[in-house]
């Protein structure tokens, strides 16, 4: 019995969807825009996040040791620093490597290279390049390093460049925080607006059927039997809209991908689209079907009060 009713309601929903072709098409177009907006938010978030990670990854602090510091003391220091919970990675640069890097960097500057050659001793000290997990944690790492000394009590650290870069690091940290917050607010507002637009569109589509709903009630249909087909129809709007939105994304992403890659090197939106296709489709499908069928339910209830 209940199975027969479900079958009849579903079939009526499909038939109405097909016969009200123009209304269905108009509703789907609006819902596609909604889902497209939501999908764009997902993609922009992915681009923003991977760009921010990229920038964050470029930030580090270097600890320069006095040129006379023993290698074993420096390595011991490296061990200690690596164990800090805030630290992601520590790279050891020996004095010789520092000199080689310096020469490589200034290979066009003959005067500078010559003056280096004239020194009988390597003027550069060893260094540790430290990356923290979060930008905001550099402060505490730097504080930990400042004033560390070797076994004999003298400080082996020449300088920590955090204190020179502090301003830039702080500013970047602020920008990243604001970018994330702004992104969240914009997403929420856009999502809300598009949900309201969808709701209104479906309400209008059902408004044109209000008389029919009344007639169904008067010839003895229960509330559920009269409203069921509209909810099935709504769910179909959601399904087709999600499908169309996903298809529209393909050419747009192919087009926009190289442009994004040229601004943020190493960020591939196309890769993200392909890798997360199933997940993003599921999100759009879920959101679309949910918004549309709930809108239908709310809209149709107004006309069932008879």
């Amino acid at each position: 019995m209940i199975f027969t009713k479900i079958k009849r309601v579903t079939k009526a929903g499909f038939v109405n969807f097909w016969r009200n072709g123009w209304v269905s098409l108009a509703a789907i177009l609006v819902v596609v825009i909604t889902l497209f907006a939501i999908g764009s938010l997902i993609f922009s978030k992915a681009v923003l996040e991977s760009a921010l990670n990229h920038i964050e990854d470029k930030v580090d602090i270097s600890v320069y040791f006095k040129s006379g510091a023993e290698e074993k003391d420096v390595l011991a220091m490296k061990e200690v620093v690596a164990k800090l919970s805030e630290v992601k990675s520590v790279e050891y640069v020996s004095a010789d490597k520092a000199l080689a890097d310096f020469k490589e960097r200034h290979k066009d500057n003959a005067t500078l290279l010559q003056s280096i050659e004239e020194l009988d001793k390597n003027p550069l000290g060893a260094a540790l390049n430290i990356k923290a997990k979060e930008i905001s944690q550099y402060g505490s790492v730097a504080k930990f390093l400042d004033g560390k000394s070797d076994s004999s009590g003298d400080s082996i650290i020449d300088k920590v460049n955090y204190f020179q870069n502090k301003k830039i690091i702080d500013r970047l940290s602020n920008i990243l925080d604001s970018a994330k917050k702004l992104g969240l607010i914009v997403s929420l507002v856009l999502a809300l607006v598009s949900i309201l637009v969808t709701f209104n569109t479906i309400r209008l589509a059902i408004y044109s059927s209000r008389d029919e709903i009344e007639v169904m009630r008067l010839v003895g249909a229960s509330n559920r039997f009269a409203s069921g087909p509209f909810i099935v129809e709504g769910a179909m709007y959601g399904f087709f809209s999600a499908l169309i939105a996903m298809i529209i994304f393909y050419p747009i992403i192919v087009w926009v991908d190289p442009k994004i890659a040229s601004v943020f090197s190493g960020v591939s939106l196309f890769r993200y689209y392909i890798d997360n296709f199933g997940q993003i489709f599921a999100i759009l499908l879920g959101v679309g079907v949910f918004i549309c069928s709930v809108s239908s339910l709310i809209a149709v209830r107004r006309y069932l009060k008879i």
Binding site: M1, N20, L218, V219, G220, N223
Partner: protein, 226 residues
């Protein structure tokens, strides 16, 4: 079978649709409800279908006070009453067949019964060859016959018709009225609200005359008088 007990319907002080109406209708009767527009005929029928609530009094159908029913049981009541409206009120995106079948589907009847009964009733009203047409492809008379087929498909005890011939030409009017007479002979009670004099006179059955929300005359075998 139907009993209106001192029913009043007051919209506002200046707009009183019904005032203390008492009316009893027995099984298998054919009652014409006549009167000018605004006399209260439609309101009386709407109260019977629980489309509206009375301000005072109560309405009984088969000993049940229809306004005491919760909304979810109203659909059960309405399946026992077939309704025909002046403006047909068919479902515009369903075919003739589907419109008639809808009333059976809504009542939860078996698909097999539907497949047997719908063609039978369409044959009764003479629309077998138009069963796959949509309402806007039909003439007014044909639409009203579809509406009648839909009203009687669940074999209701009562058929209520509110000005069913109001939008029809004389030929269609005669056809529609003769279908009502046929249904009545098969044992269904009929309440026909109309202000068509010819229709009422040709029936020569019980006539209830209303004016300004009151019943002013009730003749066992009457003619249209105002």
């Amino acid at each position: 079978m139907i009993f209106f007990d001192k029913v009043s319907k007051i919209y506002s002080k200046t707009s009183i649709a019904l005032e203390g109406v008492s009316l009893s209708i027995g099984p298998k009767e054919f009652v014409s409800l006549v009167g000018h527009s605004g006399a209260g005929k439609s309101t009386l029928l709407k109260l019977l279908l629980a489309e509206e609530l009375p301000s005072k009094g109560s309405v009984y159908f088969e000993s049940v006070n229809v306004h005491s029913l919760p909304r979810r049981k109203l659909s059960l009541l309405r399946r026992k009453i077939g309704v025909v409206f002046q403006e047909f009120r068919l479902l515009s995106n369903k075919t003739v067949y589907e419109n008639v079948a809808f009333a059976m589907e809504a009542a939860g009847r078996l698909s097999k019964e539907i497949e047997e009964n719908v063609p039978f009733v369409l044959d009764l009203v003479g629309l077998t060859d138009k069963s796959s047409r949509f309402p806007d492809e039909l003439s007014g008379g044909e639409r009203q016959k579809v509406a009648i087929a839909r009203a009687i498909i669940n074999r209701p005890d009562l058929v209520v018709a509110d000005e069913p011939t109001g939008n029809l030409d004389p030929v269609s009017t005669r056809e529609v009225v003769s279908i009502f007479e046929k249904i009545n002979k098969l044992g269904t009670t009929i309440i026909l609200a109309t202000h068509n004099k010819e229709v009422v006179d040709s029936l020569s059955r019980r006539v209830v005359t209303m004016e300004k929300g009151k019943i002013i005359r009730d003749d066992k075998s009457g003619r249209y008088q105002t």
